[in-house]
């Protein structure tokens, strides 16, 4: 067993690639995730160009053939979900925030943490290697329904399919390790005095997301093994001619796939909760109720999966059960969103960039939420299933989650991560330049969806009803909006790197926030806290009447503020 010397000056390799420090691992996840986001965004650019300008030469790519189109959408989906949303929302923010916000020096198991990132990096490399093999990357949609995904002569990308599957499996292992570590750290390593209901919401939600992931990914890991054998060892788990059943994979996939939505949603909700509390200078309205709704969502997310399969050939009677549970899950989610909005009441709202992102998240996510009702009620899903309505609904939830909330989190914690402030003006330009085009991309897609555009189609030329010029104009609008949105991301990239050097020095607590991570210098030193903190109160004590300041940090003893505090 190697001895890890903590305070010796590490070499570059040890510091950046072999570090067990949670902050460095968070950065590794963050930058890997952002690099993958660029790749995923590039794919979106290519296939949107194909849809906007069918069969034209796409600058920076070339001709989009039907096969390549499938590979592009498959990789866009897989990368954005598994290699962008998960690593950034859970792993990067989780790693950075959990030890800082619960008041300890590192994860409970730093080396498991390091291993988690290394396996994740390996999964990235395996995925990217599929671009180099014969046949190219997998093109059977991110849901990988067999027998298409299982048989090389059906999907025509046998090597790519196997590499994709292995990459996903490795990624799962990485997040199982990471998630277990998050859970244990939060359960065991909290600062003295930090009780269950003193934990900031973002930590709660990241941990609950990890637990949901742990409980839901298992069957799919088993399924991945079976599918891998189907691909490489000619077994017939999903092959109906040999006693297998293709529906089994769909069930295993969606048993994971639906909770996965909440796995990424919850951290985003947590980030937004933190930001809203700080910038509205308000305690979260009904902190405990938010938690209860989260638990309810977490549990219910396990009983709704087959609403992805209403018309997939499941027994139609089952659809009724899943339709009811699906609408049931709207109950706690609605409650949660209402509570967030209620938090604004009586506040003193400062519209800094992070707050804009957080409010943008709520505003946009609500659209995603209500359009889910159309799909969750089995009757309308018959028509809307697998149309662009689904795409638009899905992106109205996922873009707020993986883009808007992530930008919110990044702009909010950037000072803590790098010690400098981001440029506010550029931040606001970037916000409006992202959110407005985002709506212009997806609102037309709702309409094309209701007009019957099916998804994953590289050109509608052969479908008379779908190749109406009116629909093509909508597709073109969406493509142009995407170009605008993508180009505005350059402002963020510029701002990010420019501010690393030129930003205003942040100080320990630029946003006057009450949680523990703001009590340490920015960026936090190795070991985080010079003196390990003790916690005396909940995380959102803002707007206290009569205090010297309008907030009380979690680690300040009660007597310092007299007895006005509860």
């Amino acid at each position: 067993m190697s001895t890890h010397v903590e305070h010796a000056e590490p070499g570059i390799f040890r510091k950046y690639f072999w570090s067990t420090d949670h902050k460095m691992i968070a950065m590794q996840y963050l930058f890997t995730g952002m690099a993958m986001a660029l790749i995923g965004g590039y794919f979106a650019y290519v296939f949107r160009m194909q849809l906007g300008f069918p069969n034209q030469y796409v600058p920076g790519y070339g001709i989009v053939t039907p096969g390549r189109y499938n590979a592009l959408v498959t990789m866009h989906g897989s990368i954005m979900i598994f290699w962008v949303a998960m690593p950034v929302l859970i792993a990067a923010f989780g790693n950075f925030l959990i030890p800082l916000m619960v008041g300890c020096d590192d994860m409970a198991f730093p080396r498991i943490n390091r291993l988690s990132y290394q396996i994740f990096l390996l999964s990235v490399l395996v995925l990217l290697s599929s671009f180099l093999v014969k046949g190219g990357p997998f093109g059977g949609a991110w849901t990988a329904y067999p027998p298409l995904s299982a048989v090389g002569s059906y999907n025509l990308t046998p090597a790519g399919a196997t590499l994709w599957l292995v990459a996903v499996a490795l990624e799962f292992v990485a997040f199982l390790l990471g998630g277990i570590n998050f859970t244990v750290t939060t359960m065991n390593s909290r600062a003295p005095g930090m009780k269950m209901y003193d934990i900031p919401l973002v930590i709660w939600m990241i941990v609950l997301a990890s637990i949901i992931f742990m409980c839901s990914a298992g069957p799919l890991i088993a399924g991945a093994v079976m599918l891998l054998f189907d691909q490489t060892m000619s077994t017939g788990f999903f092959d109906p001619t040999r006693g297998g059943d293709p529906l089994l994979w769909q069930h295993l996939f969606w048993f994971f796939g639906h909770p996965e939505v909440y796995v990424v949603l919850l951290p985003a909700m947590g980030i937004v909760a933190e930001i809203i509390a700080v910038f509205a200078r308000k305690k979260i309205f009904g902190y405990k109720t938010v938690l209860y709704t989260t638990w309810a969502v977490g549990f219910l997310s396990f009983v709704v999966w087959a609403h992805h399969q209403f018309v997939a050939g499941i027994d139609p009677r089952m659809a009724n059960i899943f339709s009811i549970t699906t609408l049931l899950i709207s109950v706690p989610i609605t409650e949660m969103v209402f509570l967030y909005i209620a938090t604004l009441y009586g506040g003193s709202i400062h519209l800094d960039t992070p707050m804009l992102w957080a409010l943008g998240f709520i505003a946009e996510f609500m659209v995603g939420g209500v359009t889910g009702i159309f799909l969750g009620s089995s009757g309308t899903d018959i028509y809307l299933h697998d149309t662009y309505f689904v795409i638009a609904h899905f992106h109205y939830t996922f873009v707020p989650i993986a883009i808007i909330a992530v930008y919110g989190g990044l702009t909010f914690w950037y000072p803590k991560m790098f010690g400098r402030m981001l440029n506010e003006t550029l931040g606001k330009i970037h916000f409006w330049g992202t959110v407005i085009p985002f709506n212009v991309i997806f609102i037309p897609l709702f309409i094309t969806g209701t007009a019957g555009d099916q998804r994953r189609v590289y050109s509608y030329a052969l479908f008379a009803e779908q190749s109406r010029p009116a629909l093509q104009h909508l597709r073109l609008t969406s493509t142009i909006a995407l170009l605008v949105m993508l180009s505005f991301q350059l402002i963020f990239i510029f701002n990010f790197f420019w501010s690393l050097r030129n930003g205003k020095s942040a100080g320990a607590n630029p946003w006057r926030s009450a949680t523990l991570e703001w009590t340490v210098p920015s960026p936090p030193p190795h070991g985080n806290f010079a003196v390990m903190p003790t916690v005396y109160r909940g995380p959102y004590e803002y707007g206290l009447p009569g205090g010297a300041d309008d907030y009380v940090p979690q680690n300040v003893p009660d007597q310092a503020f007299g007895d006005q505090n509860s």
Binding site: L156, L247, P316, G347, S348, M366, G379, T450, L462
Partner: protein
């Protein structure tokens, strides 16, 4: 509401359209209320000098009811949505009205093929009509379909009928539709089925009984039995380009 975007050509298309409208009205209302409330609060409680923040925990009864009452109303709306949704589902997918005709729909990479009984009205006999890429049906006739797949998962979707059902290899899945408007409509495959997925188009042609009988007769003379049905001109020129190729010859 949906008919503004796409023709409704089957009897149950309107059920789905009304359900869509119902949901749109209810959730649209709540969306507007919630967004309006949010933006109003942002405006009302924007930071202003000299105004202190209120300390509210969310446990206060008089404030909590501002959450609870709308929430109960939302749950009521959920029920109002789910009951008809299930009824629509039940009537389309769970019960099947007695069939006038039966067709067999077979998906494969990347074409739809159809088998229907010839003039003798019995399936799996010598005069069966087999077509590829287009299905001819009679208007105002209840059809049962038997859906299957030769290779991978496909999805038989006729947007104008509001019909969609996945075809699974190894299974026969039945369903029904009753076209009520003469015309020719798209068949899509809406489940990723390989590189030709986006090209897996078909047409469903709803004909008057007379036209249908003529078509039936033309394609089921013993001489052509067992062979393919002739593509009608409307589908050969499906993409405009194919016709061009023909003209050039």
């Amino acid at each position: 509401m949906l008919e503004r975007y796409l023709t409704a050509a089957s009897t149950y298309a309107h059920w789905i359209d009304y359900q869509f409208l119902l949901i749109a009205v209810l959730v649209g209302f709540w969306l507007i209320v919630a967004e309006g409330m949010m933006f109003w609060l942002i405006f009302k409680f924007r930071a202003r000098d000299g105004r202190a923040t209120q300390y509210i925990t969310g446990e206060e009864t008089h404030l909590k009811r501002w959450i609870t009452i709308p929430h109960i109303l939302v749950i009521l709306c959920d029920i109002v949505i789910i009951v008809p949704a299930i009824l629509v589902w039940y009537n389309i997918k769970q019960v099947m009205p007695p069939a006038d005709e039966t067709v067999r729909v077979i998906g494969q990479q990347w074409a739809w093929s159809f088998q229907q009984a010839g003039p003798d009205g019995v399936m799996d006999t010598a005069d069966d009509i087999r077509t590829v890429g287009e299905l001819h049906v009679k208007v105002n006739t209840t059809y049962h379909f038997e859906l299957m797949s030769r290779d991978v998962v496909h999805s038989f979707a006729v947007p104008s009928f509001r019909l969609k059902q996945d075809a699974l290899p190894g299974r026969t899945i039945s369903g029904w539709f009753r076209p009520n408007r003469v015309g020719s409509y798209d068949i899509q495959c809406t489940q990723m089925c390989g590189i030709g997925h986006g090209l897996m188009a078909g047409r469903i042609i709803v004909e008057t009984p007379q036209d249908h009988a003529a078509w039936l007769l033309h394609n089921s003379t013993p001489a052509v039995a067992g062979q393919q049905a002739l593509p009608s001109p409307s589908t050969v020129g499906m993409d405009g380009l194919a016709t061009m190729a023909e003209v050039r010859r």
